[in-house]
Symmetry: C2
């Protein structure tokens, strides 16, 4: 259950005394231009802070006095930014390091779905994300991963029923049920999905959606289950249909899926209140280069959205959608999460305040949050891999291939002529057809799903990763079985991670010992290792912006059209496993 | 706790089947123009209904089929209207009759504060309002009366602490804490008020405000307590300051307080989402003549508000403010509360649907709700009144008089020269200075507060009422002590009610046996009796639009400037009792 405003009698009395001017504030921020997202105005104002909250705001300079006074020197001051839907795991670092990475960009709250670690470690994984985000200057709200595993067509490390999740609904930072990814299951009224929806409604919590390209009566059915949002729209017409059906539109601009430009036409003075920003998945190098929600705000303004409206979409709209009643505005009693910047037309964050404290300034955190909570023990149960594990016996001339689309997590289902050698299918770099494997790593089943991918572009070597949505088995793409084996063994040897190899050489590697998904090292070193890995993949010929993230989504069987799991190829449109050869 | 959407697994499966088109709807509404308050658009659409909810909406005619099909013949269809703050007691009828009165006006939900009956019967009174509104076609949501009594400067029938109220917070239709009327107590941090605020926050419920003319640091303090709304603004600048401070602006247009025209300037494309309509107090004759929230919508449109915006203020804005997630829009999964009308520029309700059923058509309810729940036993403990009870011994030449302002519940504190006869103050009809008495009726204390009122206008006779906000003692205004005594005794004899007398004759009377506040008779007969009472008061010379309602507010010591309780005159600005003579 979400609680808001002051929860303690003496604490509220003390706040009231400051607000009415009978006691000094801890800090008074003077000389700033307040962007008031409640009235849609900007005006000079001073802001009195007390014990993490805003005690009072005054248009009359000198109304409040404080023990500390800060001069904002004419900069704008707005509420801190909120990411409405994301998976911290995609940053490749644990919550304290993620906090260090995004605070300088003005993000003060995120609504995260610990779906990735939940697929590896189940409830223990969700509890780790709660524990390791406790007390951070970044507020981390959690939606309970509703689809673990996402489908029955893969092997995950855990399986979470409505009953398993019920015990977490009363946690103070748990806001509800995360994206109901099994949207065909919801539409068809499958028992597990319906039970989870009903459990959410009985608990009075919010329920997020995930319904790519869903339309017409299927969308009406999905919305009728009381699902409150969607972040999968890729066109304005898709977003408008969802908005009409009552789904809050989370405009996604992440590392792989970048929908902001396409969706801006849906934002107008009547609809903007039902729109927010989200990143879904954002890697540390992209965070460092582009920013986070501040990037969405700037992009929206460039795209023609009024700056105050864009800031509302990054603040109050998201807070209200999730029932975070004392977040997202600068008003009395609200949590004092705020950012400052000089230019309203191009907000570049100069200071970030969390609970009234300066936590980042000029691109740097003031004090670094430390990693202190031990992660669940992660084991890569994928031993006994051999060259033969990657062998595809040729059973026909034509086979399905996963067609990769740049900057998209949807794929095309293609049919290609296979290249073979001695009765076995081989990668064909001339036609950009590569072998892909998904190796079960949680339970030691020995399952290996094998297939072909087109558009990935490797001309040599192999890449491998223990990040492979959503079951996070071990995914490998390579030109030869030997290189695929080396890449897979390298990841297993690190206890999870990402690597690129050529011949017998490991070109780059990033250990991700936390669930095979996250590093416990400083985010900057992860960013640098990732940068080296990207360069290695590009050197090997891959033309994609982020080959590892693209590869990770090739295993996600809830996004059309063709995907690969440890159980084999999945025809997502038909929502069933399908053979490689046609 | 508020719950929303479908709470039952089999029920949701059945709804999903209808939504996706695999099972027929119960009813399909065709040929209407949907006003979609989520996208801010109007367009032709058909609406499929199933078991009280909207299963699906389609722009393509013929998508859905139903057991019953209704042709809306080109009329507009919008969500049912919601009154964001009101006291059902002011309608003078119990909830089933109130439902009968407002459904034809398109009101399908009200958020009521049973503050009046709570002041008479305490928790038992609140439980009566919950029980007697159970299962009505009108949805009655309850906010828990937070200030019973409103102040310590009066004698009420009950006293409710935070602990007393706590047990009601889990009731399914209880949304939170009602208007925190003791706003000086909140601002000053008085223990009882702070405890109630904290209890509300700990329970995660909404808390309504009541802060007439509050401004500057006092307003900042009031808002910092986490109070979420206000319905007392009388000017656009007052409303804007409150909106900036985070208070949702409930624009009130009731029987006595009519603030809509004055507040419309605050409504614009950026602020309208934080504005809603409310009536606060509306009597049956006004309901019959003007309408209810439909009246607010029409007035707002006449005042220049875009019709879709005005409808949003009557529907989705209010629903979202109170966390009623499946109310206030026509979208899948939402409760099928809807209205139709022919003219978007002047909505006059032709049909009202509640939970998908036609409940009113062309100004008439389809099926009358019956009064069935027994009210708490009401006793008028005000025996032993004598002529001397009304005597004011003259103790000076100048005295305070309550200055009545037409159409306002605020009064002016005036100083007048008293008229006397034999050492006693008497009413002076020449100068329009009348005697007023407030007689304690709950506990038989014998308390009688006496004072003077200016601007009430009686030239003969007396009027009396057991409705006297908020303690609902017996209030009497008259030209002579004998007529005041007769009026008071007439009300006592009815077990509560309203009357007008002249000489020894009772000109009109309306028994209100339920707590001395409400009738259990059909609302039309109450309206007619009230009409006769109004004519009687006007015949006696009172120029006020509604003398009884105006009189009832003269006893309310939380509205400035000068009021009278059974304990005596109250200087509301100083928030203390004050002597009659100066």
């Amino acid at each position: 259950m979400v609680r808001s405003f002051v929860q303690d009698v003496e604490e509220l009395k003390a706040l009231l005394a400051v607000a009415r001017g009978d006691a000094p504030a801890e800090t008074v921020l003077r000389g700033g231009k307040l962007v008031n997202v409640l009235s849609g105005e900007g005006y000079p104002a001073e802001i009195a802070l007390f014990r993490g909250r805003i005690a009072g705001v005054s248009l009359v300079a000198g109304t409040y006095s404080g023990e500390t006074e800060v001069d904002l020197a004419g900069e704008y001051i707005t509420p801190g930014f909120i990411d409405g839907h994301m998976h911290i795991e995609s940053s490749l670092v644990v919550p304290p390091e993620f906090s260090n990475a995004v605070l300088p960009h003005g993000t003060t709250s995120v609504v995260t779905d610990p779906h990735e670690i939940a697929n590896v470690h189940g409830i223990e994984g969700i509890r780790f994300m709660l524990a390791s985000s406790e007390g951070l200057p970044l507020r981390v709200f959690v939606m309970l991963s509703s689809c673990v595993p996402a489908t029955d067509m893969e092997t995950s490390g855990a399986r979470l029923s409505a009953d398993d999740l019920a015990g977490l609904l009363s946690e103070s930072r748990v806001l509800g049920m995360a994206e109901m990814m099994n949207y065909p299951g919801v539409v068809l009224g499958l028992d597990d999905m319906v039970r989870k929806a009903v459990m959410g409604h009985q608990s009075g919590v919010r329920m997020d959606g995930h319904s790519p390209l869903l339309s017409g009566q299927a969308l009406q059915a999905y919305a009728s289950a009381g699902i409150a949002s969607d972040h999968e729209s890729v066109s304005a017409s898709e977003a408008l249909e969802k908005l009409r059906a009552g789904l809050h539109v989370l405009i996604r601009e992440g590392s792989t899926a970048r929908n902001l430009d396409a969706l801006l036409p849906v934002v107008n003075e009547r609809t903007s209140r039902f729109c927010s920003f989200a990143t879904d998945d954002k890697q540390p190098n992209d965070l460092a280069r582009d920013g986070h929600i501040d990037h969405c705000v700037r992009r929206a303004i460039v795209g023609g959205v009024d700056p105050v409206t864009a800031i509302q979409m990054a603040t109050i709209n998201t807070a209200r959608h999730f029932g975070l009643d004392d977040l997202g505005a600068i008003a009395p009693g609200y949590l004092a999460d705020m950012v400052t910047f000089a230019d309203l037309r191009e907000p570049r964050i100069s200071r970030t305040f969390s609970s009234g404290k300066l936590v980042a300034e000029n691109g740097q955190v003031v004090s670094r949050s430390e990693v202190s909570v031990a992660a669940p023990r992660n084991l890569m149960h994928a031993a006994n891999l051999r060259l033969e594990s990657f062998a595809i016996r040729c059973e026909g001339k034509l086979a399905r291939a996963i067609g990769v689309l740049p900057d998209q997590i949807v794929t095309r289902s293609e049919v290609v002529e296979v290249s073979q050698d001695g009765g076995y299918v081989v990668s064909d770099t001339q036609r950009d057809i590569l072998k892909i494997a998904v190796i079960e790593r949680h339970k030691g089943t020995g399952n290996v799903g094998l297939g072909l991918v087109k558009g990935f572009g490797l001309r040599a070597g192999a890449v491998a990763s223990s990040i492979a949505h959503d079951s996070h088995n071990l995914v490998v793409i390579g030109v030869s079985d030997a290189e695929m084996l080396l890449a897979a063994q390298t990841v297993i040897g690190m206890g999870g991670g990402i690597c690129a190899v050529r011949g017998g050489e490991v070109l780059g590697q990033l250990p991700l010992p936390v669930a095979g998904l996250m590093s416990d090292q400083p985010w900057e070193s992860v960013r640098d290792a990732m940068q080296r890995l990207l360069e290695a993949a590009h050197d090997l010929g891959c033309p994609l912006d982020n080959p590892y993230m693209a590869m990770a989504f090739l295993a996600l069987p809830v996004i059309p059209e063709l995907k690969l799991t440890d159980l084999g190829l999945v025809d997502v449109t038909a929502f069933q496993l399908c053979p490689l050869f046609v």
